[in-house]
């Protein structure tokens, strides 16, 4: 994985010093809160429901074991012994003190990490495929391109006060595991007829109040123009994105209001101009970065067979491991969704254990997924059993990946000052209701996603079943959505009808699964059956 050189290190060290100075000026009164807020947000520091919250960047979701261990240590030293992995592959801490924050950032910088641009109206952490570099179906590892974009977007002087936040995802396979088209810019690396790699740009997707799937605006951007094209996309947005209404300020609204053709025309015009400006790093820089993403020292000729005589292990292998492109290896996912647990939370001890196991069994590497789980990208199949045993002893062996228990949930009203309703208790009740493995097996793949407000951090629009918490006259209320998806078949869910209270929404989810099971044909997933039979039978069961 990528390693900082002295320049990268200097940049994060300078940022720590800058923020230390900003905190000093806030505490001595030179900066008002209005002046300080955007500065602290650009260092990932929110003022949340109970305290300050710090969001730490995990660039394209990739971590070393030393970095992961530091995340555990920070949880103990500065927080209350746990962290929360987010839907943007980051981690956040809920109980941070302002006066500690510069020291936390310094600790992070000591392991080549930071919290730069994890919030604020700027280009955020670049997300990617959690299986990058290991997936059997990728045409290249997308992370070097994400790293190139990370360096370009970090401290970009023109784009730190955009109309609104800006999220970029980069993938390199047909199967989209990063919800790429639900980003402000989604980039898919593709190969053209001549066999060259280039970038396909989708611009103007997003969830939130006005969910939109990003339209394609450029089929193929040559790699030696990638940064220039991204810069053109951003400049048009910075110039024309709406600033009169916070809810219409995302680029998706601009692309929608201008129309895809007109937005594209303006980008192409700006692009043609910027090509004359020499802002593109040389291909040699991309090649330099790529050297950090070469394969680990895989052993050749390892067997692919596994002893699956332990039924619990067998279930975990079936649920939580994926094909690796290297024979004898597998990709293993740690579910942070134990029955009745808090989705995405891990204790400091669990974080450190996951770090140690990465060192021992996955070439020192981990990934954070947008589904709030942790991935070991390169595990010898011969080590899977030991790995699973050690995870399971620490409460990390739950076998439910992409099943109904693998719920994405935002922190909701338990932690978030924007939320209208709690998300976590709903996730816990549903998880408990479907705790039995045979229940989950019968239902099969079902992506359930819960947001505690319309900002959609829990991706409810993209859930096969989505739940949106709203405030109805001071009382929590939950709307049910069906039919969303974030993969190759990206689609937005539809609200079933009137909302429910907490017990009612759990009951409604159960009814929806019953409708599916009663109507399922062959190998259909919940989503397939929904697409075939439509909303009516579900409505009938829910409200009839």
């Amino acid at each position: 994985m990528y390693k900082y050189d002295r320049y990268d290190q200097e940049m994060v060290d300078a940022r720590v010093a800058e923020f230390r100075d900003q905190v000093r000026r806030r505490l001595d009164g030179s900066l008002t809160e209005d002046q300080f807020r955007p500065l602290r947000l650009q260092n990932g520091l929110y003022l949340q429901l109970h305290a300050y919250m710090l969001r730490v960047a995990v660039p394209y979701g990739t971590l070393s074991s030393a970095q992961m261990r530091m995340l555990g240590d920070i949880a103990d030293k500065y927080d209350r012994g746990y962290g929360h992995f987010t839907t943007r592959q980051n981690i956040q801490y809920n109980w941070i003190k302002l006066e500690d924050t510069p020291d936390i950032l310094a600790d992070l910088a000591s392991v080549e990490m930071h919290a730069i641009q994890t919030s604020g109206n700027c280009i955020r952490n670049i997300s990617s495929d959690q299986y990058a570099g290991a997936a059997a179906d990728e045409i290249v590892d997308p992370r070097p391109y994400a790293e190139l974009l990370r360096q370009w977007s970090s401290f970009h002087p023109e784009f730190l006060t955009l109309p609104r936040k800006f999220k970029i995802a980069v993938i390199a396979s047909e199967t989209d595991r990063a919800a790429m088209k639900l980003h402000d810019i989604g980039i898919r690396l593709v190969r053209n007829d001549a066999g060259e790699i280039g970038a396909r740009f989708y611009v103007g997707g997003g969830m939130g109040r006005t969910p939109m799937i990003a339209p394609l605006i450029r089929d193929f951007v040559p790699l030696d123009q990638l940064i220039t094209y991204a810069e053109a996309c951003l400049r048009v947005y910075n110039r024309y994105g709406r600033r009169d209404n916070k809810y219409k300020a995302r680029i998706k609204i601009l692309v929608h209001e201008l129309g895809r053709e007109e937005y594209t025309r303006q980008v192409e015009e700006e692009f043609a101009h910027l090509l004359t400006q020499g802002i593109e790093p040389p291909i040699a820089e991309l090649e330099r970065i790529k050297l950090y993403f070469t394969d680990p020292a895989f052993e050749a000729g390892l067997p692919d067979d596994l002893d699956l005589s332990d039924p619990d292990f067998r279930l975990w292998v079936e649920r939580n491991t994926q094909a690796h492109r290297q024979p004898g290896y597998a990709i293993a996912t740690v579910s942070l969704k134990p029955v009745g647990g808090i989705p995405g939370d891990a204790s400091a001890d669990q974080i450190r254990l996951m770090a140690d196991l990465a060192r021992d069994y996955s070439f020192d590497e981990l990934r954070v997924t947008h589904a709030q789980n942790i991935v070991y990208p390169h595990v010898r199949k011969a080590d899977l059993y030991t790995l699973w045993r050690k995870l399971d002893e620490a409460g990390l062996g739950t076998a439910n990946l992409d099943r109904i228990g693998d719920i994405i949930a935002c922190p909701g009203l338990d932690y978030c000052s924007l939320a209208n309703a709690r998300s976590i208790p709903v996730a816990q009740r549903i998880s408990e209701l479907f705790a039995a493995p045979e229940k989950q097996a019968a239902i099969g793949e079902l992506k359930l996603k819960i947001s505690g407000c319309i900002n959609a951090c829990g991706h409810h629009h993209a859930g096969h079943i989505g739940i949106l918490g709203v405030d109805r006259k001071g009382v929590e209320n939950y709307q049910l959505l069906l039919g969303g998806s974030e993969g190759a078949d990206t689609s937005l869910g539809t609200i079933t009808g009137p909302g429910f209270d907490e017990a009612g929404i759990v009951n409604a989810v159960e009814k929806a699964t019953e409708v599916y099971l009663a109507n399922k044909q062959g190998e259909e997933r919940f989503l397939d059956t929904y697409h075939r039979i439509g909303m009516a039978p579900f409505k009938e069961a829910l409200y009839g």
């Binding site: 003022l47 305290a51 109980w95 808090i342 338990d414 932690y415 709690r422 208790p425």
Partner: protein, 98 residues
């Protein structure tokens, strides 16, 4: 009654105006009547508190309670982690929050 809340500037802790200073305990919140705006201006300028705002509260037998669920959760802590609330030893504490 009107009560005043915010976060301690340095620590971020949720605090309540008790008539003389800031308390961690909502039970001690004072009725600020129509003095909220002045108190906010003064206390924020003195950098003792950040993000202060006035909310509706009720005086109950158990003490002052915020009217809205969001502020009740702020007053106690996350409902899903009783161990991290202000009353970790009291399993009934959550009852007045939700």
């Amino acid at each position: 009654m009107k009560i005043l809340t915010g976060n301690d500037l340095k620590t971020g802790a949720v605090v309540w105006w008790d008539g003389e200073g800031w308390s961690l305990h909502v039970e001690q919140a004072a009725d600020v009547t129509d003095a909220g705006a002045d108190l906010i201006a003064r206390e924020e300028a003195a950098r003792r508190v950040v993000g202060a705002y006035v909310i509706d509260g009720q005086n109950t037998a158990d003490g002052v309670r915020p009217a809205h669920i969001k502020d009740r959760i702020r007053a106690l802590g996350p409902t899903v982690r009783p161990d991290l609330t202000l009353k970790p030893a009291d399993p009934q504490a959550i009852d007045w929050v939700i």
